[in-house]
Assembly symmetry: C2
Homo-oligomer: 305 residues x 2
């Protein structure tokens, strides 16, 4: 089934204890659509870039069968740019530069050929833009997944709450779940957030895995313990893209399929952090993904006798 | 098979956001032996108390079939006393009072009837005392599990390293694993710590579960997401007691049985935190434990198709 991904398509400059990059291609929609493309052969991007965005990067989306008809190129303007530096623990980072550029006035236009999309991934963007995309689709998709971050809780809480009400799955990290709910216990936080609208809540816990909550059910997914995290940028977007891409592939939305989707999303994210930027994500094989998923099985299975 | 548990038997005064207690019975050996007693009917304590320790508390060990022949009562002296206050997040606490009392000069005496113990739990105590227990056993137990904490890394590192070398399983938390190894990545930390002697390393991550490392294998156990943690005191000791108690019950030590042991230990710990002190641990049924373990199964199982 087809999947619409909206989010930033951007440049990042990243510094980690392992090295630093010049401007490389990043952005939520980039990571999410690349991850989803390993499961779903009909991924369609809505986004915006400036005329500084290289054509061969756009062509590369095509090589992953990602449709870029909805990627606007604004002449005479620049792409969104983010620069950040990770601390030694890789769990925290400082933002050095944020240049909104084309993203500041982004009006998401949905091409007619995207209108039949059954799955919608709202990558991290202003909740108002996320909401506009839902409103501009003639038919509500079968599943709407929303990623967001603490920044929008601080500056646009009302818009955020209105958008959260319209989605099926919300994916946020543990600190964000605590901030949004005002509850420290993640069980209580989940209960409150599910009462805000979504049927499913995913709480991402980085190196501690992820939790899925829905209607009294809880699933705890492990994270793969890694000897080295090279660059965590995009791991959350990759997770979300792998998650919804897998669901778009299997087509049926239920708790059991969501559990597997979380494992596939986690597997893709575990690849993402092995190299700078999207490098690792661009050259995976189905065999590598299957082997990585098998590692998640071995890691967490036990048999009570 | 029989299990020897050594550790503190003590008084605690605890303050949490939910309330505060007067002096109640606590201590590593208390929690660990109570937890183990649900699996193993031959648990034997080595410890020390003052003459302020109530006889009916000692009798209560008997009601759980815990042998207290090795529990020394020092006339005219006081039992170890710890008082602490948990912060609102329940993940951090301040120690208000530590009175070593009888523990300051503790010389662990092993009764003759304990000499045949096949399983040995070294609860958190000075590493020198832990080592003395191993040395005073005529036959080395089949399995020696050691719990410790950052305090001993700060004040008695050489003793600690010497004791770690003699044990089969080391159980510490993630911050302690990082401190002991000097590595941030838990995979690298585990690799270094396993090279210090133990065959197995358990890294306890509190609300994020636990990791078991051995010889290239890793198991990730979930923690049960709880709406309310009433009092975390003793959760780690309870985990360790449930873990070794389960292994003493099944008798065979291998990676698969250790995985189940971690789940049983985690289940017991999840009960422990539901009430103040040892209250919940004293009145569990096998049915409650089996149902709780089933919750861990539901929480973490997925089937890749």
């Amino acid at each position: 089934m087809s999947l619409l991904v909206i989010g930033s398509v951007a440049f990042d400059a990243i510094e980690t204890p392992f090295g630093k990059t010049d401007k490389i291609v990043g952005g939520a929609a980039t990571y999410a659509s690349l991850a989803a493309s390993y499961f779903c052969d009909s991924v369609k991007i809505v986004g915006v870039v400036g005329d500084d965005f290289p054509q061969d990067e756009i062509d590369d989306f095509g090589r992953h069968h990602i449709d870029t008809e909805g990627l606007q190129i604004i002449e005479g303007e620049k792409s969104f740019f983010w620069s950040g530096k990770y601390h030694n623990d890789m769990n925290s980072r400082d933002t050095l530069i944020t240049e909104l550029n084309v993203l500041g006035s982004f009006d998401p236009i949905i091409p007619e050929s995207y209108q039949d999309c059954e799955f919608l991934m709202l990558g991290n963007l202003s909740p108002q833009v996320q909401q506009t995309v839902i409103n501009r689709l003639k038919n509500r998709p079968k599943l709407v997944v929303m990623d967001t971050m603490n920044f929008w809780m601080d500056v646009a809480l009302d818009d955020l709450l209105a958008t959260i009400k319209m989605v099926d799955v919300l994916a946020i990290n543990d600190a964000e779940a605590r901030q949004l709910s005002g509850e420290f216990s993640l069980v209580k936080a989940a209960h409150k957030i599910l009462s805000m609208g979504p049927k499913y809540l995913i709480i991402k816990k980085g190196e501690h895995g992820a939790l899925l909550f829905s209607d009294g059910l809880i699933f705890s997914a492990p994270a793969l313990p890694l000897a080295e995290v090279f660059d965590p940028t995009g791991a959350g977007d990759t997770f979300a893209g792998g998650f919804i891409g897998y669901l778009a592939k299997v087509g049926t939305v239920n708790f059991n399929n969501m559990k597997n989707a979380i494992i596939y999303g986690s597997a893709l994210a575990s690849f993402c952090v092995e190299k700078f930027g999207t490098e690792k994500l661009r050259n995976l094989t189905q065999q590598e993904i299957a082997a990585r998923v098998q590692q998640f099985v071995s890691l967490s299975e036990f048999k009570i006798i």
